[in-house]
């Protein structure tokens, strides 16, 4: 049975179910469970649900060490930027331990962090920094765009035997969606086709999936049918589904909330150029954030981000069409 619940409730439901299923799952982080009424605390106790000091390196490193010793920790980091404080643990320890040990150990760990809070949170709390983690072999990177995926990808992340960076989008926090009850897993490495279309392939992640679908509606009114693909996980990346779509449409627009030179779309563009070049009828167009820190002032904040108008404009450009006059 599916019912509508908000994206954030779907995430919490997945963590709760996995903690009930497997008592090696631990949950800790800053400001987590600071009252005895906390649902996680009531269900699983102080032994498994812990509030930590503001010590990202110790929190993440502790997660790695507990994972090496057989636990499956979920570290609540709140803001993706806070991971940057602890980059040694995120980059040098968590993903490299298994490899450097010759495969003798594993590190089942979820680093849960919100990103992209472009609602006036300004330069240090709005970043879309997932791209940098795509370049760290050993890490998996997950970007749920719907409430159902938020649940299913979290459950899969907790069961995965590798460190997973689970990035949830802050602008989607209260976004409701149909979510299956009970155990629900979304496999990694399987893109979702959010809208089928024959004329152009749009690839978008997280909050920009909604923007791409809105752009597709604008374009439909002009007789253009866009296919919208959501990779859902950046590592592993389902390049096959994207290329299959490109083989049908021949045209590509990639949407990313990250600055262009740190974007996932840059990697996707390179993969399409490498394995799907013969299917292309024109250049690949990227609609990304400006290569700038996200500014505070509201109009300027909107200016640097991708939106449905920019996406539709890019589609018209790759198709060589003009907008229909209103």
């Amino acid at each position: 049975m599916a019912r509508e619940i908000p994206y954030i409730a779907a995430i919490n439901e997945a963590i709760h179910l996995e903690m009930a299923r497997d008592d090696s799952v631990l949950y800790f982080g800053q400001n987590l469970a600071t009252t005895e009424n906390d649902e996680f605390l009531k269900a699983f106790g102080h032994d498994r649900v812990r509030v930590t000091p503001i010590s990202e390196t110790a929190e993440i490193g502790m997660g790695v060490g507990a994972a090496l010793a057989g636990m499956r920790p979920v570290v609540e980091l709140y803001m993706a930027e806070f991971m940057l404080v602890a980059m040694d643990q995120v980059v040098n320890e968590a993903p490299r331990f298994r490899y450097m040990s010759g495969g003798r150990v594993k590190v089942p760990l979820v680093l849960k962090a919100g990103y992209g809070f472009t609602a006036g949170w300004a330069g240090q709390h709005t970043g879309s920094i997932y791209g940098m983690f795509m370049g760290i072999p050993g890490l998996k990177v997950v970007l749920p765009s719907t409430a159902a995926d938020a649940k299913g990808l979290m459950a899969t992340a907790i069961r995965d035997d590798n460190p997973v960076c689970y990035f949830h989008h802050y602008l989607l926090t209260l976004e409701p969606g149909e979510v299956p009850e009970g155990e629900y897993l979304v496999p990694f490495g399987q893109a979702a086709i959010r809208r089928a279309g024959r004329d152009v392939t749009i690839v978008a992640t997280g909050w920009t999936v909604g923007r791409a679908l809105a752009a597709a509606e604008l374009l439909a009114a002009e007789g253009v049918e866009a296919e919208v693909i959501d990779p859902r996980t950046l590592v592993p990346l389902d390049i096959a589904t994207i290329v299959t779509s490109v083989e049908k449409t021949g045209r590509v627009v990639l949407v990313d909330q990250a600055p262009r030179h740190a974007s996932a779309s840059a990697v996707i563009a390179a993969e399409i150029a490498d394995v799907g070049f013969s299917a292309l009828k024109g250049a690949i167009k990227q609609v990304t954030a400006l290569d700038a820190t996200v500014p505070y002032s509201e109009p300027m904040e909107a200016f640097v981000l991708p939106d449905e108008g920019k996406i539709a404009g890019a589609v018209r450009e790759v198709l060589g069409t003009a907008p229909v006059a209103a």
């Binding site: 390196t57 929190e59 450097m100 495969g103």
Partner: protein
């Protein structure tokens, strides 16, 4: 009861120290003749800490080490031949040749791992200690680090959290007074690492790391407390790093220690003289320990040379653990 320092303990520890000493001296020669690949940090001068601490641990106790890891690995029970094969990048290496000198892992013997970034192992030890408590185990976690790690932020984060949660964890600092290429005086106003953690209120001690009985006794008392589930504790061992930071280091940043002074501080020579003076051991036994260590290391070199380089496909295969839980 804390483990007693007696003739049996001294003989066992001395044997381990000889294996480490012979291993490190052999690795230095192999490095000079390009048979060992990569960056090598030797632990000569610190053998007493490795052997005195690990010699009291159970196989299931957890140890984390850093970039200067060979001695800790050997003392914790990692097979010498597989450690040597790892240093030579062979398929029979401890980590199949993927980790090398700075990243030795042998979880079967409780060597949870070694990290090449100074102090990066400190937070990991918290997690392993937390897991032991969660399992209801009396397993103790020991993390070795140098005085250079103490000035890094993660040291304070880790000490704070370990103290806050009273984790069964023993911080063992090898304070050799020089962090990489810079003296401790240029790193901090606080010379004793045990003073740095004073406000947290847990038991701490500073001993002469060349005085193996002192290392043994202090650690024995700490281990008993940690074994009872109480921690953390900190043991600071003042040692002399006999070699450079890495093999090939010209060491223009410090004056060489006079040979007479080294003889006074050499933990192996001191322990051997002490054990002989106590009548715990005789000269033929001392010679036999040395010869046995030399022979074990030579067998390790032969083992490593006979081991093939790993199949290249392994480079891509081991990036991710397969399958969900």
């Amino acid at each position: 009861m804390p483990a007693a320092w007696d003739g049996d303990a001294a003989t066992t520890v001395l044997g381990t120290m000889w294996v480490i000493r012979c291993f490190e001296e052999r690795v230095a020669r192999l490095k000079r003749s390009f048979q060992v690949h990569g960056l090598i940090h030797l632990s000569i001068g610190g053998e007493g800490v490795a052997a005195g601490v690990c010699g009291q641990l159970r196989e299931d106790d957890a140890v984390y080490s850093g970039h200067r890891a060979h001695g800790h690995a050997i003392a914790k029970g990692a097979p010498v031949d597989r450690v040597m094969a790892e240093l030579m990048g062979r398929s029979d290496g401890l980590c199949r040749g993927l980790g090398g000198s700075m990243h030795l892992v042998d979880c079967e013997h409780g060597l949870m791992g070694a990290t090449g970034v100074v102090g990066g192992n400190l937070p990991l030890a918290l997690g392993t200690a937390l897991a032991a408590r969660r399992r209801g185990s009396d397993q103790v976690t020991v993390v070795f680090f140098g005085d250079g790690a103490v000035q890094a932020g993660h040291f304070n984060e880790s000490v704070n959290l370990a103290a806050l949660w009273e984790l069964p964890l023993i911080f063992v600092c090898e304070n050799n007074g020089v962090a990489e290429f810079t003296s401790r005086a240029e790193h901090s106003r606080v010379q004793r690492v045990s003073d740095v953690v004073a406000p947290y209120g847990f038991a701490r001690d500073t001993v002469d790391g060349s005085d193996v009985p002192a290392v043994w006794d202090s650690f024995a008392r700490m281990l008993e407390i940690a074994r009872g589930g109480r921690g953390p504790l900190l043991l600071e061992c003042l040692t002399h790093r006999r070699r450079g930071h890495y093999e090939g280091d010209a060491q223009d940043y410090r004056d060489p220690l006079a040979e007479a002074e080294w003889e006074r501080r050499d933990p192996l020579a001191r322990l051997q003289a002490d054990a002989l003076a106590q009548g715990w051991i005789d000269r033929p036994t001392v010679d036999a320990l040395h010869s046995a260590a030399l022979a074990e290391v030579e067998r390790a070199v032969e083992f490593a040379r006979a081991s093939p380089f790993p199949g290249l496909g392994v480079a891509a295969e081991l990036v991710y653990a397969r399958g969900p839980h």
